[in-house]
């Protein structure tokens, strides 16, 4: 380039002002930095939203990075379940489980996410354990609905295994419903579900679980409240944290054909999110944050030193100091490199999240004859007072009383 050639020529000219040389050298470095950061990144197309979460979710998924595909699978599946679009939910959950069910090793994007200059959010998203557990929980519900309680049980077992990563032993594999439903499926398959029931009872924190009734043919899965929201804490948002807003609805009551069935909160997804403990990735992000901070400090010190040296290029007797020039140049370069390294380090925690999860999960098993059954669903606050605005009518249609009818009830609308 002409600019470089001319600049080299000037540097080679012995009569040039040396203070100007230092200044121009640093300007040149700055220009290199600016240009080097100009690599274009393909922009994600903007999707025009229709207001329908399934349509919009699919549109977003179609233009999303491959690394974000599971994220959209999760969100669409939850919306589809609430809309009664079970085929859509099944398809998306199967796609997600295909990804999250395997072992991710030797992945280039995961390796980059661990590197100093790679962002954690660049890795393929599979979600934190509480998110993966919910994918299995929902898929299990659909397997049961399709007459495959053994595959449903497999999902509950996988979910509980995912939750076994918690730091604190008391929070390992502590979902009540996953064990309870594992045992119920086993009992319905003519097996002995008592061990699973006992584990569930142990995790229920004093709440007495209803015993299994093999002839209960209507399985009600209920959920209420909004789940946890991720955010990054710390100087560089490198610490993954969860914002939990306790939902107003603490429990529910389902009244069908005049008979009321309580739907207590057996599991709290927010509690599960905050009790996982530290991740290996948190340690990596912590190291990145330390590097970012240290290199920034080194950069500041070196640039300050460079400026001081540049101001002392002329000695008191008016002669030129080559040593001061070299020092200014070297410190300036070190400072700039350190600042760039600091700026390029990305310790920010990955806060992509399944943003339409519920907070509380409940379950009940009923025995109903064939036919249509009507009633209501009331959500109750912490004091057990019905939240009138949330009460809704419910219709349960039992087509074949010899097989299980699965009913999914959510306080969330999308």
């Amino acid at each position: 380039m002409r600019f470089f050639r001319d600049e080299s020529f000037r540097l080679a000219t012995p009569r040039v002002n040396s203070r100007g040389v230092v200044g121009r050298s640093l300007i040149l470095l700055g220009a290199v930095l600016a240009l080097a950061g100009c690599e274009t990144v393909p922009a994600t197309p903007i999707v025009a939203h229709t207001g329908d979460p399934i349509t919009d979710g699919n549109a977003e998924r179609n233009v999303a990075k491959p690394q974000d595909r599971v994220l959209w699978d999760y969100r669409i599946a939850a919306s589809a379940l609430r809309a009664g679009n079970y085929d859509e939910a099944r398809e998306k959950l199967d796609d997600a489980i295909l990804r999250i069910g395997g072992i991710i090793a030797n992945s280039d994007d995961a390796k980059k996410a661990r590197g100093l200059f790679g962002s954690e959010s660049g890795k393929t998203f599979i979600g934190e354990p509480y998110e993966r557990v919910m994918a299995y929980y929902y898929r299990g519900l659909l397997y049961w609905r399709d007459g495959q309680p053994d595959n449903a049980r497999a999902c509950y077992r996988s979910g509980q295994l995912i939750d076994s990563d918690a730091d604190d032993a008391t929070h390992k594999a502590d979902y009540v419903l996953l064990d309870y439903l594992d045992g119920l499926a086993t009992a319905k398959l003519s097996g002995d579900g008592s061990a699973s029931f006992d584990r569930a009872q142990g995790a229920a924190q004093g709440r007495k679980l209803p015993p299994y009734e093999a002839d209960a043919n209507v399985l009600v899965f209920a959920e209420f409240g909004h789940g946890p929201m991720k955010y990054g804490a710390g100087e560089y948002a490198e610490q993954l944290r969860f914002r939990v807003i306790d939902s107003r609805a603490h429990s529910a009551v389902l009244t069908i054909d005049g008979n009321a069935t309580p739907l207590p909160p057996y599991d709290d997804v927010s509690f599960q999110a905050i009790t996982r403990g530290g991740r290996v990735m948190d340690h990596i992000l912590g190291n990145k944050a330390v590097f970012k901070s240290t290199s920034d400090t080194v950069g500041n010190a070196a640039l300050a030193g460079s400026a001081i040296a540049a101001n002392n290029l002329r000695r008191g007797d008016g002669s030129y100091s080559r040593g001061a020039e070299n020092t200014a140049l070297a410190l300036g370069a070190i400072g700039l490199i350190s600042k760039v390294a600091s700026a390029a380090t990305t310790p920010r925690a990955d806060t992509r999240q399944w943003n339409n999860l519920p907070q509380r999960l409940s379950f009940a098993a009923l025995k109903l004859p064939a036919g249509e059954h009507t009633g209501s669903l009331e959500f109750l606050d912490a004091d057990g007072t019905p939240i009138a605005a949330q009460t809704r009518q419910v219709t349960i249609n039992v087509e074949d009383p010899s097989r299980d009818t699965v009913v999914f009830l959510s306080e969330l609308k999308r």
Binding site: G122, A154, N326, L336
Partner: protein, 210 residues
């Protein structure tokens, strides 16, 4: 400082800063995609987990088919025994397509048995009964008296179970799956044949996911 040294220093700084600054930009993984790779069903792919995979299905059903054909009840039967398939029971932590085990087992047996066994299409009974009703009401033609029950009863039931055991520790995850199959005499309830296959897998996820 000599001019050549200055130039070298500048060039080096330029390259280093360019390198560092470039690292801050987001990259695009596999911008050209990964071409579709055709693989054998009994081959381990590059997308793998510790669960039930196609290579396991092929290995297990191959072994079971060979084993069944060797038993006297099949090998020495004077008339081909009728076998009905009962879906396998999944007692592992992996949700699976259960029909695929019986399907491949049936296909392998039919391929190698050379008429020594016959399978009953019990999963098609609704369609078959509908067709028979059409024949009985004269809506379609019949090559035999449709009022005579010709649906065959099963001599044997072939079924199976997948059982699993999982270990998870800091060193990784390990999954053991036992695939057991049985041939049950429909008249006596005797188990006339049983065989199993077992597969254990283990792995550790990238630290970015731990």
């Amino acid at each position: 400082m000599k001019t050549s040294l200055r130039l070298g220093l500048l060039a080096g700084f330029g390259a280093a800063t360019g390198f560092f600054a470039g690292c801050a930009s987001q990259g695009v993984q596999n911008p050209s995609g990964v071409p579709v790779t055709e693989m054998k069903a009994d081959e381990r792919g590059f997308v793998a987990g510790t669960g039930v995979e196609s290579q396991d299905l092929v290995a297990v059903t191959d072994k079971m088919a060979r084993s069944i054909l060797a038993i006297p009840e099949i090998a020495q039967a004077t008339t081909a025994p009728r076998i009905a398939l009962d879906p396998v029971v999944n007692d592992t932590r992996f949700p699976i397509n259960k029909d695929i085990f019986n399907d491949r087992l049936r296909i392998e047996l039919n391929k190698h048995a050379l008429g020594k066994v016959r399978f009953l299409a019990r999963d098609r009974m609704k369609t078959l009964e509908h067709e028979r009703a059409l024949k009985q009401t004269g809506q379609v033609t019949a090559s035999a008296d449709p009022n005579v029950t010709e649906f065959r009863g099963a001599d044997y039931f072939l079924t199976g179970k997948l059982s699993g055991m999982t270990t998870k520790a800091a060193a990784g995850i390990s999954d053991y799956v036992l695939y057991s199959f049985q041939l049950i005499d429909a008249r006596t309830s005797e188990i006339v044949w049983e065989d199993s296959s077992e597969i254990k897998k283990q792995g550790l996820e990238d630290a970015a996911y731990r």
